[in-house]
């Protein structure tokens, strides 16, 4: 197969080998999922992408729908994209659309909070403008690992985008997973992203959805909805649908402090470390394991992560003698 790949054949083969070894274990690896985005390209050359839709989520969060030059790509929930605003810079964002949705529409989505140079510049862009994209990057969620098991998805604030990708992927492959529970906490009702989708999840029969906010507004109070940090949802869960530890996989994304406390709750309920899956956030630049910014211990969050199990994180902390979360 290597033969006839042309000038960059060797390199592509290495990339494929890498993908194979990364995903071999979960049986997910395939040449077909890894579209030829890297094929023969300069590692740092972004693919042009046109913005086809911009949706306001909250006052400082927008979701961008992008149409990539050269067609759709395949990816895993939890993988991320490096998005460039030319002249300003490049920043990593979790892909918030699901691979199944991308297959249907040909687009990918990222959800971006405006906090700095690149993100603010992105927010100023309009439909029809171009950005650059390098994707998919990172390992993604070990979806296979959760197959046939009870799934608990815990999201905090802007940590939801990769989980939304995961959830939508699971909903599109509903029969492969057990009971799915979504716990979502945000600071205020206005800070909640994907409001339309949240309502839909709440309505769905094949999905258990609980949410809470730290500080309620009038509307929230009127509806009599829950107030408190996301960990306060666990006691409710205990009553409603107790966790069966070895058969449960939890996916946790959000601010580090929230991850910290959620993991404590899960540990209390004896969920094995290997079944607690979270993402690490680090300052990232290249996204391909070269620039060193994201390194923690001997791992690179951009290529070895951003998804790690709690077991891996603990080992990592021990090896590098510094806290990971």
């Amino acid at each position: 197969m290597e033969q006839g790949l042309g000038e960059f054949g060797e390199r592509r083969a290495i990339v494929l080998a890498y993908v194979n070894c990364m995903w071999g274990e979960c049986g997910m690896a395939s040449q077909e999922f890894f579209q030829p985005l890297w094929n023969g390209r300069n590692l740092y050359e972004p693919v042009l992408a046109r913005i086809v839709e911009v949706a306001d989520e909250t006052p400082d969060v927008k979701t961008f729908t992008l149409e990539l030059d050269g067609g759709a790509i395949d990816y895993l929930p939890g993988q991320f994209a490096e998005v460039s605003v030319f002249g300003v810079g490049e920043a990593p964002f979790g892909i918030s659309s699901s691979p199944t949705w991308t297959k249907r529409t040909g687009y990918i989505q990222v959800t971006v909070r405006a906090i700095g140079r690149v993100t603010n510049a992105l927010h100023r862009l309009k439909v029809g403008d171009y950005v650059g994209v390098r994707a998919p990057l990172g390992n993604g969620f070990p979806v296979e690992h959760a197959e046939g098991k009870r799934v608990i998805i815990v999201g905090g604030g802007i940590g939801l985008p990769p989980l939304r990708s995961l959830l939508n992927y699971m909903l599109d492959n509903r029969e492969r997973f057990g009971k799915i529970t979504v716990l979502y906490g945000a600071r205020t009702p206005a800070d909640r992203v994907y409001k339309g989708e949240l309502e839909e999840w709440e309505r769905r029969e094949d999905l258990e959805y609980l949410d809470t906010v730290d500080i309620a507004d009038e509307e929230w109070q009127r509806l009599g909805k829950r107030v408190g940090v996301v960990t306060t949802l666990f006691p409710i869960l205990d009553e409603q649908s107790p966790i069966d530890p070895p058969n449960t996989v939890a996916f946790v994304c959000g601010p580090p402090i929230m991850i910290h406390f959620v993991i404590i709750e899960l540990e209390k309920r004896n969920v094995p470390d290997e079944n607690i899956i979270s993402t690490l956030e680090r300052h990232m630049k290249c996204g391909v394991g070269k620039c060193g910014h994201c390194a923690i211990g001997h791992k690179y969050v951009c290529t070895d992560g951003p998804v790690f199990s709690w077991a891996e994180m603990k080992e990592l902390e021990w090896m590098c003698a510094e806290p990971a979360v």
């Binding site: 300069n42 490049e90 700095g116 956030e281 300052h283 290249c286 070269k290 620039c291 060193g292 003698a321």
Partner: protein, 354 residues
Amino acid sequence: MALLLRKERLDDFLQSLDGQLAAPVRLEHGEVHFAINPPVEQILQDSDYVNSTISPVALLFPQTEVLFKFKLNGKPQIELPKEPKPLIIFGIRSCDVAAMRYLEMFFSRKFIDTPFVERAEKTTLISVACQRPGRNCFCPCCAGGPFLEEGHDLQLVDFGDAFLVEVGSEKGMRLIYARGQFFEPAPYELNEQRNKLAEETLQKFEIASHMGTGVRKLTSRAVSDELWRMMAARCIECGGCAFVCPLCTCFDVVDHSLPCSSNGVICGWRERCWDCCQFAGYSMEAAGVNPRPDKVSRFKRRFYHKLSYFYMEMDGRVGCVGCGRCIQVCFGVVDMPAVVNTLREEKLLGARLR
């Protein structure tokens, strides 16, 4: 196979090489830099110099490097850098060859770093084995020299009026095949003499750095927080150690742009520039959280990365080739050998209080 290159033929040999030639030259005030296509008579040969201020690996991974240029006129247009020209680095030292081989491994691991790897593929290293180590050199402690057994394309060993030429790779072999006229077969005894020279050179080193002890101490967590604090106090976070280190690869990526004066179209480029893990902004995250918030944790990170066994497992070697450049640049005498020796003796030179 060993060959002999008479010194009077060296100039002709260098001139016969295709592509750009990078070679060490001495500047007015005495510094040694690698220059591109310098006049042949200015090129330093073996005993004229110890090593260059900055490693020649910077020719392949320069402090700033344009990744691509772009024009924003409707749909953006991206212009990638031109294919690199073939490059021959003459006079590179053993430690830097070892570093280059590490960088090649690093930059093609998992993903292939196009700018570096494209250059590396077209680069040939003609190293000159060291017989006169500098006062800061400690390569024998790090498998970095002074004589190379592997890694070079060609290695020259100085025998007074001639160089013994050792071929280390196919690239080196091809170079010689095409230029047979400059070489003659080397007498067999030279090989033995060469080994003797290598032995003798080993005796000439002034400093040592017990890397093994360092690795052990770090991997087994045998270093007290107090010692880390004391060492980090002397670091002024200049970044120099990372910038001169031929094994350090970290970089930052930035965009620049400006409206073109004639038609207002925005033109710009994206570049990468060296970065250093000792800088506070290096690891600062978007939410304002810094996983390595203080100088001590950053300092620790640097040496864990270079010395801990777990990192070696991934990188295949300690993160040091013993070139000694960090000794020259460090403001606080907390360079690699100083730190390793401090770890070994568990006592920091100069510390007074406590």
